[in-house]
Symmetry: C2
């Protein structure tokens, strides 16, 4: 039976570190603050906003919420972003995406100050993740995967890591971070032929396929570590991941459950980025 | 015996296309021009400069050479770059690197206009390659690998492509380009364990290890396509690649020779980027 790699265990040590840094900042008269910019009332956004706000509060980070109407004009949204850039009491900006279709997302992102881009969505942050320097912040979900591996002291040097998914939110950034940790990375996707034969060769599998319970035991082997990035609601209204958890955990060595895995860590990572940004902006 | 994938064959069709585009530009009164900025008299730089200048001349592209002393100050080099940015008759800038140690390369690159960055070295270009949009130019060597595969109609969809090397000049950009063409990409490097077992699984192997003749038949299998990015001078003073050509070509299906492979195509790609940049700047 696999060891469950639990978000709460990772968070226990991560949050302790964050709290300490927040106290140090407050001693210097700085209250780290995140500005969350949400356009419309998308359910996923509200849910993430709620989780992140709660986590921020627990850790002593201030939350400023900007909720904007769905029919906001592009130039008005730009104005809100510019205000957040200019406001020295705001250290990190989280912009919920996707934005409504009448807004050119790419053009919007050009206005966000890379120093406050705590979810790695600007060009500058992307170039940083890609090149492996330490300037920009990686997307929080990708960073959460790495934090879990790091917490459980799973060294990546020389290991075969297979990533399923090539998105800019998880697949690509986590692959670049694995390379930086000296892992040998294989990036798979919807066009990969005979995916099970590829994933079975891995020491570590990071699943960000975006489809509920598509990875069963035929994709896995004994001794593997599985990080499941997916979050879905199944036909019974229960949360589940991209991996068939019950099936997988009978076979592999370690696995992150859904719920209680990557998602839980992501919000702590977000807040840790705010704190890091506040430290850099001093 | 493997088919040799020859740079001259790729160039024959690539150069024809470039010449046509140059003529079309000249008809519109535009003479596409590249500015090559070289600091010092590094032999490799001079050799590349010579090859690229000759290719440019053949294809009807103007070359402006700026040769600067090794002890140039950073602000003077920035000035040269700014002049090239401002000069509307220059469409692409090639800056030879590495720069001397007293110059902060990263700071220098911030001054180069991304629109004229024909070798993909600015942050904007990197973000573009990484995200897969079409804005920036990829590094010419990476693009040359793709051009060869494309010329010989080697479809990457679903194929297993193993890249040896994780540099920003070849390994990373070519991996991103393979992903975009729907290949399944594995990025290997000096820390990869049991490299031969990884490369033998590939349909296509792109070798950018940067070490002379380290890839022999034990890394390869029948039916593979091998792209050899390395260029070295061996102990007998002869040019060779990262792959043991004689050994490999007895086994695999197709291979780029060194000399006469990737390097030959790289200079044509460089000139094609200048022409593309000139078209965009109209």
């Amino acid at each position: 039976m696999a060891k469950r790699l639990l978000g709460k265990e990772v968070n226990a040590s991560l949050n302790k570190k964050i709290k300490k840094e927040v106290l140090e900042l407050k001693d210097k008269g700085i209250e780290p603050a995140i500005c969350m910019i949400r356009v419309g009332e998308h359910e996923d956004d509200i849910s993430y906003e709620r989780g992140a706000s709660k986590r921020a509060e627990t850790l002593g980070v201030k939350v400023i919420k900007r909720v904007l109407p769905l029919d906001i004009e592009e130039r008005e949204l730009v104005q809100v972003i510019k205000e957040a850039n200019m406001d020295a009491s705001i250290h990190g900006v989280l912009l919920f995406r996707p934005l409504p279709k009448h807004i050119n997302e790419k053009r919007i992102l050009e206005h966000l100050d890379p120093a406050k881009d705590i979810d790695g969505i600007t060009k500058t942050s992307m170039a940083s993740i890609y090149s492996g320097d330490k300037e920009g912040f990686p997307p929080c979900t990708a960073a959460a995967c790495m934090e879990i591996l790091n917490h459980y002291q799973i060294d990546l040097t020389g290991k075969k890591v297979v990533v399923i998914g090539r998105s800019l939110v998880v697949g690509k950034p986590v692959s670049m971070m694995i390379l930086k940790e000296n892992g040998t990375v294989t990036i798979c996707h919807s066009k990969t032929e005979d995916l099970p034969s590829v994933t079975r060769e891995a020491d570590i599998v990071i699943v960000a396929a975006g489809k509920a319970r598509i990875i069963g035991k035929e994709y896995l082997k004994e001794g593997q570590i599985v990080i499941d990035v997916g979050i879905h609601v199944d036909e019974n209204g229960k949360l589940c991941g991209d991996v068939k958890l019950e099936e997988a955990e009978e076979l592999v060595e370690g696995i992150t459950p859904v719920p209680g895995g990557v998602g839980t860590v992501t919000t702590s990572i977000l807040i840790s980025h705010v704190v890091k940004a506040a430290n850099r902006q001093r």
